[in-house]
Amino acid sequence: MSYVGKGTFDSSTFGKSLSLKVDGGFNAISINPSGRDVVLASRRGLYIIDLDDPFSPPRWLQHITPWQVADVQWSPHPAKPYWVVSTSNQKALIWNLAKSSSDAIEHVLHGHSRAITDINFNPENPDILATCSIDTYVHAWDMRSPHKPFYSTSAWRSSASQVKWNFKDSNILASSHGNDVFIWDLRNGSTPLCQLVGHESSVNSIDFSRFKSTEIMSSSNDGTVKFWDYSVNNEDLTRTVTTDFPIWRGRYLPFGNGYCIMPQVGGNNSVYMMNLKSEEPDTKTAKLQPIYAFKGHTDRIIDFLWRSRYSEDDREFQLVTWSEDCDLRLWPISESIYQAVGFNREKEVEGKTIDYDYMTYNHEPSKPRTNQSNTYKKIKENFVTKSGLKDINNINHITWLSGVRINESDSPEDFFKERKLQNLGEEVSSVGHKFPKVLFEKISVSTGELAFTLSGPWSKSNPDSYVFLRISVKFPPNYPNKGYSPLFSIEENKDLSKEQRHDILLYLKEIGTKYTDAGLHCLEPSIRYLLGESISLDEIGLDEEQLLNFDIADHIDFDDISSIGSSDDNSELLTDTSSEYQPEVYDDTFDRGKNTFGRNLALDTTPIPNECGAIWTSAGKLLCFFPVTKKSAHKEHNILKLSKKSISKVYGRNETHKVIDSDEYDSGTSTSTRPKRYVETLTDDRGEDDDYENDKASNDGSLAISMGSFDSFADDWDDIMGNDIVDRNRIPALHGNFVRTFGSAPSASIRTDGSLKKNKNIIFSVDFSYLIPDKLELALGYQFLHFKAQDMAKYNALVAEEQGYDELSHCWQIFSDLLMNQNDDKIYNMLWDNHPMSLKWFVKQAMSYFEQENNVQMLAMLCCVLASLTISFMEKIDNTTDELQVNSNIENVLTFVDGNHSQPNWHVNRSRSSASQTGTPFSLDLLRIRSHTDYFTDGRSIASEDYFSSSEQGSERASFQVRSPGSINKVYGKGHLNQTHKLPEIQVELVSDEILDTINEPSRLFFDPEDVPKFETYIYQYSQLLYRWGLLLERAKILKLGSNLASMTGNNANILSEGYISGGIKARWIEHGTSGKVLSHNCTYCNLKITRNVLVCGNCQHVLHKTCAKEWWALGDECPSGCGCNCIELFDVR
């Protein structure tokens, strides 16, 4: 019976309303028996919050687990006031808060096989506690041997939700399983003392009466609270109270005769208090008749607790609630409530009251041990659990402060209705958000001490430059009342003369006195004054409004302050500023990066984004986008200015990484100081856009409100706290851009002038098609696939002329004229081929010119003409020789000349004839093989029987060599060998020679066969262009010509073998050379695609149309592919 806790009655928060915003998904709460601290538990660990000094940030004991913490309990015993037990899935962790946060876990209780749902300390014995779990077991543990439970029992059927010790008899414990409650006695083994059956849904909560040892209450999902007395009879239900919501927790009051319940869902998110006496005992069932409802949370309440203080003649309680709206609230209990439950505060307590040390575990215990082994050990432990101390420093103090609200008023109703600043903590947080450039070095609300730094225009010599000031303030406890003005002091500074300092202090004092005399807070006007604003002391009464008006703060130009980094005359102080300032920027960026994408922005090398650009379109237009000019000038100005500030930072990084040579910077042109990295511009933006962000924050208020402020909240608080809710570590307002990342995309409508200030873009296109040689209008006009090449050229010349392209027109004209000459198929024309006035020469020159010009269109067109020219020329030969039935169908003609062997074959043939005609003396070699050549010629031109029969005669290897004075070896027909299995290996080598070439190329190929692949790519490129222009028919035609060209020289490009005519229509172009084992899908006779009526030779695998087969095999027995297979003989394909 002694006066407990010297501090209890000095508590600044007892008997007051308090709201504390705590983020981080905390799911369980417990209170120190002394009532000083609460512990919140989440997946990230424990937060210890000192309720008497809610302004100091919490202590964080980090313990990252993937499992939500189901329960946390503070030991109720004065012997072990530092013990907190929390769940971590199937384990229970005993924390010792007297130890350092890094190794605070004293015991781990591992006995359950599934998640623990509830923990309860034995009220008698401080070393004993009970746990229950989803695995249906209830374990009782003795901390003196924590490796296994000393008592275990199970209800077998259903998982346990709660376990409680009897307050009077420490051997009795109760647990709820499913719909039932079991009472156990430790001495009775695992047989339940009794089983209380009656609930229609699962029981969520049980609580023993503090006064009657055999009375227990149970709260259930079925919306009822039942009170039992198990001593009387096994199933003695004393009474039932029904509600219209499922009940999550129901507990007896620690004072008076009443109980409290709280809903699982619904029920206005309130805690209801009931009187037990008022309900008539004879009616066993009653409706809920609360005598008081603690209403105000905006989301489900997670748990409620009672905070109490005792003295000899007084006992007082305070309700603590923790809700999913991330609000920790303290509710004062009015005298009327005490009376309603029949509680007399002055009345002596029966039995003993417990003597608790009134102390907080909010602070990290001091560690006297500093020897080396310990340091080493500590470092090692950091890998396991991270020290809380350091992280607390990371919790932005100002942000934390902004989450704290205290109301002096006793009544909870007007909790947050007043929009006045209630205390120093709120004042500091409000000012801290308004003036981001003011750096708070020390905030101690409880002692009323404050230290901050800022830069103000106090320089005598240069009115434009700024002076760095460090100011400390001491607030008397009764601030802001009359006569209690704060005491300012300014650190000595060489840029500030003594007199000046004196003057400033004098004026600050005046501000302080005047404001506090009016009962007003004076921190903000003081800071405004220090920043160079003029503060009028005449209209103080009106200034209350100003204090909460963010707009005014917005108009202060902080950009100028930030630019002091580059002024020369106070360089020494500058380094000071930057050294103060840099770390904050770093943390900020780091924080922000982590918050957005989990990246360390300090190492982010994303280059600054381009603001303008130009991209070509297919139609020869240039699509450009620019920021609007006048804004961009402004922007650039800012970048330059601010980059100077950040340049030292960049340097440092570069040096350590040794990656980017800094020479470039040293050269020192204005543009080289442009920041390179995107994050740097972000930092800059922050400085320049503070006001803008604030603006935006207030405009996005809807978001904040929906996230958890009460309607009575003032708007400015929404701004500060709205963002806090998600993650305490975020600094709101300062980088709204990123905080709001996960919100809905900003729509233009909710933006105000603030956002319009940002650079806006313009997109437009400029027609530069006159620079591009490929013309759409020409493509539309040009003819290709015309039968007569010279007509084609002539026509195209006209087209070009019509469109006004003289150069092209002339080119076509000459081309056409030259082609005209070729018309009469005189053999001596060939001799002129290499003459400058000849076609071949012209083609070569024109090609190389257009290559230089990059004129794909013209190149492709020339190729087309050449291709069709060659085709028509060949047709002519075919017609004259009349060796085979020639179809007018181009494809058939191609069939005729395709294949690798036919070409050299044909060459040899012609070379002989031309040689004899021109009378050029043959070399001996050439003559020697003439007979072979003859044979070869026959094979090709007259009767295939001869050709193949000779191979059957056993000529396994026939090598033909046409050797001429030239030097370059050419080998044809290799692919052909792969293709035909039975064919004797034939190797034909053609050696090119200038003179002989003229004779040897009667084919009048007006181009070098070597160039064919090049031509193909021209045609292919042009075809793509046509595709883009939407000229699909033209594209198809030109691709066909291209493939013809390819087939002529026997060179095949894969690229052409498969093309897309349009959309997804695939066309497979005839594949000639290399397709060795691939079954050909084109008829070997007519070379058209085969879809049905197929005849396949099982030996050589060549396919034929049925009709073609009939036609072909009327003539002979061999495969039309010329592979030498006697299809008819081998298989009865006929």
């Binding site: 957005t596 982010d604 442009r674 080998v971 790519t1017």
Partner: protein
């Protein structure tokens, strides 16, 4: 097309017309992509694509044979693939192998399939093929240690085995070029045996971050690369016959007035458009002597 003003709330970083020049896609720091329909002089906003969590740097249209498909890359480290079906745009795939900002993307020549090249600030480039069955098979290459700022495909090229002796005379040459924060330009070549891209050549010439690289679509005479850099210069690299050393040509002797951000070749590689920090676009053309001369200028 008349000018589109204030399409986005913040800076625009890319604007690309689709294959047929009918649709315009723009992307911005405001994390959105906007699709416009362009019909002659008129344009109409069709859709705003929201999905990125950071500024969107680049967009690129896939070849129409794959459908109406757009790829976008963002500061959030993701590449998103968007598809229009029956007039509705939806996000069909996400490619998130990079741990930092993805600075550039480009679809490969359509002959290779739906293959996307992405360059990121985590120092890697990835080549992803979006296969019919919905699977991706990303090839990830460490390209530039500090960060890759840009990557660009070479046009589809076939090399002709002119020696003829080995019977294999046609081969595909898949290449791309990357530019990074290590001031280097690197050329990569596909290696069939390892199914990966191997370093073909490293081109040194810039004295600061390479901001953009562009491989000319022209295949006429030689291969052209343009690289622009923070050092306010542009270098044209040329290679003959797809092999051998790259020849370096400074676009102009004196430095540009400001850093260069972007290089774009016209469709058949005739004109090079450069844009930079001075908010000016300059056009360049190679004359018959092989020198580069100015062909125009655009200012807002």
């Amino acid at each position: 097309m008349v000018a589109i003003t204030n399409a986005h709330n913040e800076l625009i970083h890319d604007a690309v017309l689709d294959y047929y020049g009918k649709r315009l896609a723009t992307c911005s720091s405001d994390k959105t992509i906007k699709i416009f329909e362009v019909e002659g002089e008129n344009y109409k906003l069709i859709d705003t694509l929201i999905g990125h969590e950071g500024p969107v740097w680049r967009v690129d249209w896939a070849h129409p044979k794959f459908g109406t498909i757009l790829a976008s890359c963002s500061y959030d480290g993701k590449v998103l693939i968007w598809k229009e079906e029956n007039g509705r745009w939806s996000q069909i795939a996400s490619h998130a192998v990079h741990s930092a900002s993805v600075n550039s993307i480009q679809w490969a020549p359509h002959e290779y399939g739906a293959v996307l090249l992405a360059a990121a600030s985590d120092g890697k480039v990835s080549v992803v093929e979006f296969k019919e069955n919905g699977t991706l098979s990303p090839i990830i290459i460490d390209a530039h240690a500090i960060g890759v700022n840009s990557a660009s495909w070479a046009p589809a090229t076939i090399i002709q085995g002119n020696n003829g002796g080995d019977g294999k005379n046609v081969d595909e040459l898949r290449r791309f070029v990357t530019g990074g924060a290590d001031n280097l330009v690197k050329v990569w070549k596909y290696n069939k045996e390892n199914s990966t891209y191997i370093l073909d050549d490293t081109l040194e010439g810039h004295s600061d971050w390479v901001r953009d690289v562009a491989w000319s679509p022209s295949v006429l005479l030689r291969s052209y690369l343009a690289s622009v850099s923070q050092d306010r210069s542009c270098i044209i690299w040329t290679q003959e016959d797809n092999e051998g050393p790259w020849k370096k040509t400074e676009l102009q002797q004196e430095k540009f007035p400001d850093v260069l951000w972007r290089a774009s070749w016209s469709l058949s590689g005739n004109i090079l458009a450069l844009s930079g920090g001075d908010n000016k676009v300059t056009l360049w053309k190679e004359n018959l002597e092989g020198n580069w001369e100015s062909a125009g200028e655009v200012e807002q």
